[in-house]
Symmetry: D2
Subunit: 293 residues, 4 copies
């Protein structure tokens, strides 16, 4: 992270009223601090002291990226900066997120700390997905939360095999499978019965989606593993692969999907007093309103 911060990129769905409100406060604040503000060239933003550039250039030009919105916005921002080591700050739109942990009312104070390099930073590994099509064509992408192989269209379930470091694990029958990082363990994988992983645990969760076999349970493997998914022939089978919710491509019988921990990492900035378990307690309603037997 370069200090002092001279250039800051803003990422968000600016058309959303709550996001727009935060951005309207944020832009003059940054400008007053002498910081150049970058936004997407197509950003739905009125006249403002900003510089419009292609999002793909944020990684090269910005010293700091601020994502305003939900976790989905931060995941998008993470892809933009993954290869450039630019730190990310996530401001949520109202409800605290697992990744966007700055509350709106604390935004300016947290941004000021970020500009001075006084926020604590937190490196999170990314997942690298490699999708090899039957014809040999390869598609690749990074993901902070998860890589998901899932039935496409509302159709029949999928039958597929998993391997870890080349060793055959299981033949699954169900809606698909999630390979999540520790960071992503509290996202989609949690809805599918996966465990919560400490964010810095060097491990991956392999969580089947709506598995037919009730004992087909989530597996936690070392973060240094290579997980491979292949699809069995079945009539009408259609499977799509997504990285953090973005479509990477179709998995077909004969092709294969490989997931491993990437060399790239994302640097998240956290507000003072941030505490992972406090975040969990808040998000998961732990310890509140328990019902009495």
């Amino acid at each position: 992270m370069a200090f002092p911060v001279r250039t800051c990129a803003l990422v968000g769905r600016f058309a959303d009223a709550r996001v727009a409100e935060s951005v309207a406060t944020l832009v003059p604040h940054l400008a007053a601090a002498g910081v150049t503000v970058l936004v997407h060239s197509q950003a739905a933003l009125g006249p403002a002291p900003v510089t419009r550039v292609a999002e793909e250039d944020f990684g090269l030009r910005a010293d700091l990226v601020i994502a305003v919105g939900g976790d989905g916005t931060l995941l998008h921002a993470a892809r933009l900066v993954a290869r450039h080591g630019v730190p990310l700050l996530g401001v949520n739109r109202g409800r605290v997120g697992f990744l966007t942990d700055v509350m709106p009312q604390d935004m300016l104070a947290s941004v000021d700390l970020a500009l001075r390099g006084e926020l604590s930073s937190d490196e999170r590994p990314l997942l690298a997905a490699r999708l090899v099509c039957a014809g040999g064509k390869v598609a690749e992408a990074l993901a902070l939360n998860d890589v998901v192989m899932q039935k496409h269209d509302t159709g029949r379930t999928l039958e597929f095999e998993t391997r870890v470091n080349g060793a055959y694990v299981n033949t699954h029958d169900g809606d698909g499978i999630i390979i999540a990082s520790a960071t992503g363990s509290t996202a989609y994988a949690l809805s599918c019965g996966g465990p919560i992983l400490e964010p810095h645990l060097d491990a991956l969760v392999i969580a089947p989606i709506c598995a037919h076999i009730l004992s087909d349970r989530p597996i936690v493997v070392s973060g240094r593993s290579v997980v491979e998914v292949t699809l069995l022939e079945r009539p009408d089978t259609q499977a799509h692969v997504t990285c953090d919710g973005m479509v990477l491509g179709a998995l077909v019988p004969g092709g294969r999907l490989q997931i491993r921990t990437a060399a790239e990492r994302v640097t998240l900035l956290h507000p003072p007093g941030q505490d992972y378990y406090k975040l969990l307690r808040s998000k998961l309603h732990w310890g509140r309103g328990s019902f009495e037997r």
Copy 2:
């Protein structure tokens, strides 16, 4: 059920080798018994003493329908005969199904009992789904197992509301929702954390699919309930409704999906000694291979 059985329709994917093998045995056996055998006009069947008619006519012309294949085949046959009271016998292709409970080796003996009206019969209620589009257009279908509203395409999760008999139940966030009959409780709903319902319990299961909120658990309501699902506005939301896996149509914000128990019922025939819990023990590997702590 009309006796003696003079006309029997066969339903199955005849192109499947295991199905074809059973059918090759079955057709001459029925013919030798003086029974007219109906098959789909497009059935992939070689020269055989069969009468080809449109599937839609099975309900009117057959005294008995034999479904050869998996539970999916029987669900298809059930739709063909639902309004006609023609009994159904399900012959599985190798692995016992929840619905196709005649083993291949017992096929001829069970068929003979069926022809003489000596199999026990078992009436199962159907679900009636009514999908009202925003423009007022209505699509309707019956289902033996379940009606499913699910995200279409590999996209964002759905936000939707449920009502039971007009009373607001919950606002859900997830991949969709299943409304299953007691019969369907051991199908998709079981993979989504739903309970097993006795097949003759007059009740419905409402089971969310991969719900975000971990306390958004399956609810069991009276079989006389009307369940209604409506979709909230969210960007990129696409939802499809299926009945026993067949697409009924798209649910969009402003439209609604209503599910209730239908007036129609399906008559299933069962082989001697059939026992629901025995079937469960076999399908779910109960009491076998338990691991020791």
Copy 3:
């Protein structure tokens, strides 16, 4: 329910400060309304215009019972009045309960409505448990929520069989089993993976506790069923049976536990605007604080 209400019994842990506070308000309010107030002969209550009688006499002498505390207190009160048809009103101590649904601030208004017979009433079936020891000795009790057979002492798991109406269901291996009424489906059974049952559904939940076999899932059967549990011989096996948390006795190999819906019912009174799904939404944090993917 006899009107006007002349005698009202109060049930609660009066030693608890929050309960005492409610009772201190309630007693003079009832006395001023000309109602005789009964309390347990050993009740930890200072000088007050109350009549002390044995709890066992509440059913015979009271026209109304008010349970102040959590759901556990109401379950206790339900046992006292089950055979007498005396209605029950539950006032919770702060957090809303599934059964004690009158909030402290609404207590006096709800009590006034109860005295005038203007609260809606709601009949809930009870479960009847019958525990037959190896020697033939029989113990019986009623339960509003559930009958639980569970390993006693921190020891080895139990191996046991279940039957429904005499039909063998399964041989289980685990910590025990819960047979819950629809009312009790949101209590212990919910923590063990059971579904939520509409409170008036005529059904029972059979939910294994920490089952070894991962496919040993909760089953919902008709409320007219007889469920039987027997224990297999295993070294060091110890099992206890509880009804709504109160010990009924020990189940030993050779003995058997039978559960069915009792003839007795409990009449619960509910405050105006009570809505079962609203209660669920509040207790289970539905629709609030969902996390974003």
Copy 4:
């Protein structure tokens, strides 16, 4: 492991007929190979060429320990040798175990390989539990699978707090909590909704038992963590702590339970062709008998 193996200890419930049968074959086989066979001084064994010593001496005197029985027997053997580095071979009594992975029919061949030092060996970390009573008294024990804090007697649920490396995690309400090693993840923790951990993953599972709060889900933390459990004051609360099922003592309000990975490890010997995922597939019925929708 000392070679050649001169002394071998046998551990098992010799009174069990199946165990006795294996032992009757094993003892002369070992004797013929010139190996001294040690058994517990009180072992229920007829005349045989064995040396009876206190079990506590197995660790010092044996070069190899063979556990004949279920996983419980191997856990017992593991405690005997934990501090001595003596390798363990587990022979199961019929059903394959997660730890006793030598099938009876392969016993002699595997034992011969073990005597020649030709079996693959596999080091598994142990857990160290430290139970501090309110008065300051300390009890300590090792566990290969898990340390469990659980309600004692069939009583009220427990309210307790967890901390990881001193950081407050959650206040739980339920039947107790399991801290399992990767090895123990497929034992009790799996029955409580925990994930499967690769056996060599340096991690612990913290899995609540029948938690009231439905979002109180299993957490996976680094194997270098210290997990602490403390009990809150609640009337009638009784909690017991067990290590691999053996009672360590009572946890009371004011006391605390600490679990960390021990310095000691256990060396397990595995038969040729052993494969962890093959074991899982066999134990969990993966890929077999899937039901069709």
